[in-house]
Chain length 328, copies 2
């Protein structure tokens, strides 16, 4: 009887002993995250936050999955334009569209902002949202990253998948707040991160309600931009979609600065997290310069603002959910 | 021992016997709703729908609470302009604003669409969203309906509150998709309907991210309209915020037609519901004519489309969550 009681006690204690973040190294970063979560979930603490207010928002590109050499959505767009151009070569008139039709990624990038917008619009327009999501999911099921050989969706960060799951286990609601396209992210967020479509906030094109010839009404994507969910647009997108100031926000570039500023300016316990890409060996090392994920103001002000900076090389024991070829 | 077993059996069966919709009369309407919910939640049925796809969307004005003699949000706007005009009488320049400042509701209505927009814009502009929601909640805590004497928020429909709860008990996610202002509805939807801010879709003004003199960044409401969540805008709003075609949609006017059409056009079991205001004695009787809640196409096409029409007088045993004075 006595042994049974001890066993029961051990079993009851087991959940508290299990490591919720096994792919994180035992550094201060990990300790601070766990300490924050425990502080807001302990009913006896002054810092307790009711379940309904446990809102956590995450940037996507470069924060939940990789974003080098360019945003994966741009590669998807170029591949899609190439496919569309096979069926109708006349769409490839401009230099940018010709480059996309030839899947010459570097030439598309070299075509500048106007060229990029043209390619993105061509790839994201004139299709209903359900079909668009299917085509993005199809692409993600087979397209591989040129350097790692992984499926793009295998380049999600295992430590962040664990953090999302840990937060949900502690009754947080987790949201993606991405500068990327809302429908593109929805195509894989549930499978990759456990985040359903209604918890994805992103950049949106105009959409219209139209009834097709088959009599079925659908939502059609138009070429015009409706909302850009980046920089100051992120807090605006959060207010539109969530309607509450988060208590935790996580990002990796100055595009996330306003989201972290907005989040941590609220009353009570708040946590702002920046992911610093410091690992040239296992991932990519970049911050203050480049064409994606530029991080200047965040690095300059993180300490004074009390934001937590993840040093990828130091803090993460593993990077991707997939296993890169060179690690096999 | 035998009696104990019987008692245990009865207890286990009890949840199935409890009436989930006690304020609904035992008519075919109630039977059809329950039959639909049972058909999509029975794992052994062909019509089973997984939990993640159990999305139900509800119009608000005239569907979850009353909307006569005019939308309650318009009364709020007029009262708010009157309050603002006390502090700064110079805002009441036009006929519409003068009428609002004098709380002359009929004169505001008579001022036409331009006048209404001016009053609404003045009431909903230049304030941060958190403060706006507080002011709406304050108004809702004390403002009473001129005919029933009830708080406006007590004029929520008890049968619909039961339906929302029943659906959530059966693992549906319930959303409001309202032509009303998103922040106004959020001010009371959680208390009145158990629907949290992130599950409210509504009409939106432009908002901007701005840092006030006290150093706190906030979301500021601007006078321009950003999105009108009515008619064809409802399916668009659903796609933006939810990202899935609902399996159940409930409304009461032709402003909800597109939402029901979009919902019931999906594959598998779907339910479209229209609330017909037939009860002049306990509520208000109106449909094809008037300035709010006009229902023509819905009544004409409901039967052919298989939509369920609630006849308020016949189907509801009780109307409001609050108890009207004349019923005391």
């Amino acid at each position: 009887m006595r042994l049974a009681l001890i066993a029961a006690g051990l079993l009851a204690a087991a959940p508290a002993l299990a490591d919720p973040l096994p792919s994180w190294n035992d550094t201060e970063t990990k300790s601070r995250i766990i300490a924050f979560v425990e502080s807001v979930t302990d009913p006896s603490a002054d810092t307790f936050v009711p379940v309904k207010d446990r809102i956590a928002t995450f940037d996507n590109d470069g924060n939940l999955w990789a974003e080098q050499p360019v945003y994966f959505q741009l590669i998807f767009a170029i591949d899609r334009v190439a496919e569309l151009a096979k069926a109708d070569p006349s769409i490839a008139q401009s230099e940018a569209m010709k480059a996309a039709a030839a899947q010459d990624y570097k030439a598309v990038l070299a075509s500048g902002e106007d060229g990029l917008i043209e390619v993105l619009a061509a790839a994201h327009t004139g299709v209903d949202t359900e079909t668009f999501i299917e085509s993005a999911a199809d692409w993600l099921a087979t397209a591989r990253h040129p350097q790692t050989g992984l499926l793009y969706k295998e380049m999600t960060y295992q430590p962040m998948v664990e953090l999302l799951r840990y937060l949900r286990d502690e009754d947080f609601q987790t949201f993606i707040v991405s500068g990327g396209g809302i429908h593109f992210v929805r195509a894989y967020a549930e499978e990759a991160y456990g985040i359903p479509p209604q918890n994805v906030v992103g950049t949106q094109t105009v959409t219209t309600y139209e009834t097709a010839e088959d009599g079925t009404p659908r939502i059609i994507k138009q070429p015009e931009i409706f909302f850009i969910d980046d920089k100051a647009g992120k807090p605006v997108g959060i207010d539109n979609h969530i309607g509450k100031r988060p208590i935790l926000a996580s990002g990796n570039s100055d595009g996330d600065f306003a989201m972290l500023e907005y989040t941590t300016a609220g009353e009570g316990p708040r946590l702002g997290i920046l992911l610093h890409h410091t690992d040239a060996e296992r991932e990519f090392a970049y911050d203050r310069e480049g064409h994606v994920g530029v991080l200047n103001r965040g690095l300059d002000e993180a300490e004074a603002r009390g934001w937590l900076v993840i040093d990828m090389a130091r803090d993460w024991g593993r990077i991707y959910t997939g296993k890169p070829k060179d690690a096999e």
